[in-house]
């Protein structure tokens, strides 16, 4: 039984959100949603929907966001792979039984996200997200 259900989104770090949004919209014509600042995360972002997943374009708004270092060292590009789980705490327990630690972090809006070390995931910043049930 897989721990994860589907690809939720891929976060792409960019230096100029407006320029990137214009470019991606011109190239692919995916519907845009959620454009705006996320003060608690120090980013400005927008989502582009493709099938049951999304691309998140985001621009750090302060130097304290870890993606600022990524942008300085490696340039723009794919930054996080986010996978959906049914239940973050159940996923954490299953992973723990398999010897892997899920780092659960509280984020704005009372939500939590799980992260697995890139050392375990072969270089991928992997995020697990639980979506509200319909």
């Amino acid at each position: 039984m897989a721990v994860v259900n589907r690809i939720d989104h891929i976060a792409i770090a960019v230096k100029d959100l407006d320029a990137a949004l214009e470019r991606f919209t011109a190239n692919f014509d995916f519907p845009v949603s959620g454009l705006g600042d996320v003060p608690g995360l120090n980013i400005r972002r927008a989502f582009l929907t493709i099938g049951d997943a999304a691309l998140e374009l985001f621009q750090p708004t302060t130097g304290s966001n870890p993606a600022t270092k990524f942008l300085a060292e490696r340039g723009e590009g794919m930054y996080i792979l986010s996978l959906e789980v049914d239940d973050l705490h159940a996923a954490s327990e299953t992973l723990a039984q398999r010897g892997i630690k899920l780092n659960i972090q509280n984020v704005p809006n009372g939500r939590s996200l799980g992260f697995i070390s890139p050392k375990v995931t072969h270089g991928v910043l992997l995020q697990l997200v639980e979506r509200p049930k319909a």
């Binding site: 897989a2 690809i7 398999r98 991928v124």
Partner: protein, 135 residues
């Protein structure tokens, strides 16, 4: 029309080592594994929902994947969008003046595929794939 994410490509040093996490820990099913000579890789597709995760291990020093691994290490490599007509999609992309890597579609693990230039998409390597008909 681009319908969904077909797969996310991840470059790894060793496919077998990467299976320990993606197959055994996350529990994803290995749908397909093959050597793709012209990309210089041994590659596997692992099913996740309606999409896949593609693990890419270089098998020689020549391909783009080997160069990526040497320069940047293991990690996220590309995003592949699924289309039902890769020739039409590539022609439309070319008509928009978007920079390409492949001028014509070629055979890949996922089907008939082509790559756009990362310069055209803020550093993101994007692939289109028209899957093979499967029994």
């Amino acid at each position: 029309m681009l319908r969904k994410i077909h797969h996310i490509g991840i470059v790894v040093r060793s496919l077998d080592a990467a299976y320990a996490f993606y197959r055994d820990t996350l529990g994803l099913h290995v749908h397909k594994e093959a050597v793709v000579e012209d990309q210089g890789v041994r590659a596997a597709l692992l099913t996740i929902g309606n999409s896949e995760i593609e693990l890419l291990e270089p098998i020689n020093q020549n391909g783009g994947v080997a160069k990526f691994l040497e320069r940047r290490g293991e990690g996220l490599h590309h995003i592949c969008f699924e289309t039902d007509d890769v020739h039409a999609e590539l022609a439309a992309t070319k008509a928009k003046g978007i920079e390409l890597i492949d001028q014509t579609p070629r055979q890949g693990l996922a089907g008939m595929i082509c790559f756009l230039h990362p310069k055209a998409n803020h550093g993101v390597l994007i692939e289109y794939a028209q899957p093979f008909e499967e029994q």
